[in-house]
């Protein structure tokens, strides 16, 4: 096994062992950040590898979380109407809430609904060769639409408060530390699976086509590939990752509201990846953890400065670190290699991002 491979396993082993050396509060934060890391891997796939910048991943995350939350809400209501519906004057459970009484339906639709939405949106834009910033802006408009919808339909979605006050999942109390540790471990396992799958995807022939689409979509088209199929697939895949993150998020945090899927959270997701390194999967994971740790540190201590810091981070990363932390690591390694007299290939951006990490 290579030296780098060991580092990966060490990293994930440290995550697995976290319940033994972190306090309960820190562990719940880390669990949340790992959910975000799942989204980051998906965004790295579409942005770093395929060149699609999506500002709409908050929606896929939110839809996944809402589907799971609907099940949790029904379970904790014990056959009665959920509390917010009573307050809004609804007397009967709406028909589309009914199937969510079954956990399997809830979990599968938490993945399927966001994936269908992503496939629909991406098919009808990429088919017409609408790309680049146009797609980014359209995906941002999707966020606005869904946030307005979820706030407006208060009697069905809980409005701005969202869905909260869950008690149990499959009969286990959500508040007990034991359940939380199990959920944390499930999150780490899922993250590892997503990471391995994405890594396998990017080093395969498929991944090379993705990079080719990023660097010259028309050339790929002239070579006989259909970029639309690839782009729709990878976009829907990243939506599935975001939805999975939403499920685990709502189980651990116990709350989902429109504010968590809005414009600002969606664009923050892109920032995590930019900080970590857009074309590096492990960079995206580390970026999500580092940026969110910084966020919780700043917003605990200096809430006013956080926005300034966030804005500065956007500008700084784009201007000075276009390849993020992973890029810093790469250039550090290259310099070290030169010092030691090893012969390194010049390693353009492209070749680095195909094999790198």
């Amino acid at each position: 096994m290579t030296k780098k491979g060991w580092l990966y396993w060490l990293f994930f082993l440290a995550l697995f062992a976290a319940p033994f050396y972190l306090t309960e509060f820190r562990l719940s934060l880390l669990g949340k950040f790992l959910c975000f890391a799942m989204i980051a891997i998906g965004i790295s796939l579409i942005w770093g590898y395929t060149g699609i910048l999506s500002l709409g991943h908050g929606v896929y995350f939110g839809l996944g979380a809402y589907c799971m939350a609907m099940y949790l809400k029904l379970e904790s209501s014990h056959g009665r109407l959920p509390d917010f519906m009573e307050w809004s004057g609804v007397h009967q459970l709406p028909w589309f809430w009914k199937p969510f009484e079954h956990p399997l339906v809830a979990i599968s639709s938490a993945i399927i609904i966001p994936v269908l939405l992503a496939a629909f949106l991406s098919y009808f834009t990429f088919k017409n060769r609408i790309k680049g910033v146009y797609f980014s802006l359209l995906s941002q408009a999707v966020v606005v639409v869904f946030v307005t919808l979820f706030i407006g339909k208060q009697e069905w979605t809980g409005g701005t408060n969202g869905l909260t006050n869950f008690s149990t999942v499959f009969g286990f109390p959500l508040s007990s530390p034991f359940t939380q540790i199990i959920l944390y471990w499930i999150t780490v396992c899922l993250l590892l699976l997503i990471f391995l799958f994405s890594r396998w995807l990017t080093v395969s022939r498929f991944g090379r086509v993705l990079v080719a689409i990023r660097d010259g979509e028309n050339r790929v088209r002239f070579l006989g590939f259909n970029p639309t199929t690839y782009k729709v697939f990878v976009y829907s895949l990243s939506a599935a990752f975001a939805a999975l993150a939403g499920i685990m998020f709502v189980l651990q945090v116990g709350l989902i509201s429109p504010a968590m899927m809005g414009i600002i959270p969606s664009i923050e997701m892109v920032l995590w990846v930019a900080v970590g390194g857009r074309s590096s999967l492990i960079g995206a994971v580390i970026g999500a953890i580092v940026t969110n740790s910084a966020k919780s540190f700043f917003s605990e201590n200096y809430p006013d400065i956080w926005l300034l810091f966030l804005g500065g981070l956007f500008i700084g990363v784009v201007m000075f670190l276009p390849n993020g932390l992973a890029g810093v690591y790469q250039s550090f390694k290259q310099r070290k290699g030169q010092r030691e007299g090893k012969t390194h290939e010049a390693g353009s951006h492209v070749s680095r991002s195909v094999g790198g990490f």
Partner: protein
């Protein structure tokens, strides 16, 4: 009958506001191809400048309060234009070939500007009192047309006319168009493209200031007023097509009219959802928007 007239008027009114917010974008995004997410915050700056001018008038010249708006218009324009010029000089000129990155960087700028506004003016909204001569409305065929809405409509038509004249009749405007059509050729003919870029961006930003000035007539303003409009404004430019002003005008009034009519027949939330579905459906038919410049280049 009066219901129809009211709805159509409301549609035009909403369209005029959207158009105002989108004019600046038509220059920076449509002509130059730069995504400026801080455009909304330049609108906010224009709105706060109007507020500042009003406060100054209230303190030093209360007798001529009625005319503060005419001072506020140029002040809002020039302050926003200056900010935009600085933004171009410091940040955007490095990112012309990386549109996705310029989107993210200018988003960062917008967060910083919002926080600065919050620090200076406070987080709660502030109210700008519109001049007294804009109170009330004119009554035609049993329908009241508020003066404020009519004023915005006229204001936006004058602004877009001025921009059109500037771009097509003056040497400076023609240079902008030359550079946006064929940068290398324009540069060969002795046009300083760097200078033109900065000017064009400043003008687009100045129009954002004017939009902010107009928005103060509609209600209180706050640090996040820009984000409220920016997504809709980009939709206008995407729907209208880039490169031609007329596309932006049609896009704005189209979205304004259709969404007002849908809001009337369903609800505000559903109208937003349906409007977006309509835009996606429309792009199936014309992927490059209503009016587009024909080109044979591939990308």
């Amino acid at each position: 009958m009066s219901v129809v007239i009211t709805q159509v008027f409301n549609g035009f009114s909403l369209g005029s506001i959207l158009l105002f917010v989108a004019i600046g974008l038509a220059v920076t995004f449509g002509l130059m191809g730069v995504i400026n997410m801080a455009h909304g915050e330049l609108i906010m700056v224009g709105a706060y400048m109007t507020y500042v001018v009003q406060q100054i008038f209230a303190k030093y010249a209360p007798q001529s309060m009625g005319y503060y708006f005419f001072i506020a218009i140029p002040v809002a324009f020039f302050v926003s234009a200056l900010l935009g010029w600085g933004l171009e000089k410091i940040l955007i000129r490095h990112l012309y070939h990386r549109p996705l990155d310029s989107l993210l960087a200018t988003w960062g700028v917008s967060l910083i500007l919002q926080q600065i506004a919050r620090t200076i003016f406070g987080a709660p909204n502030v109210a700008v009192l519109p001049p007294e001569w804009l109170d009330g409305g004119v009554r035609i065929a049993g329908v009241v047309f508020p003066y404020k809405r009519l004023f915005i409509l006229v204001f936006v038509i004058l602004s877009i006319f001025a921009l059109y004249i500037y771009l097509t009749k003056t040497p400076a405007g023609r240079r902008i168009r030359a550079v946006t059509l064929n940068r290398d050729m324009a540069s060969c003919l002795g046009i300083s493209t760097r200078k033109v870029d900065a000017y064009a961006f400043a003008i687009g930003s100045g129009f954002a200031g004017l939009a902010g000035c107009a928005l103060t007539l509609l209600g209180p303003i706050g640090p996040t007023i820009g984000t409220y409009y920016i997504v809709d404004a980009f939709m206008v430019v995407i729907l209208g097509g880039v490169g031609k002003l007329i596309g932006t005008v049609l896009g704005a009034f189209g979205i304004g009219l259709v969404s007002t009519l849908m809001e009337y027949s369903t609800s505000a939330t559903m109208a937003k959802v349906m409007m977006f579905a309509l835009i996606i459906a429309f792009l199936q038919w014309k992927p490059s928007g209503l009016v587009s410049v024909k080109t044979r280049s591939l990308d």
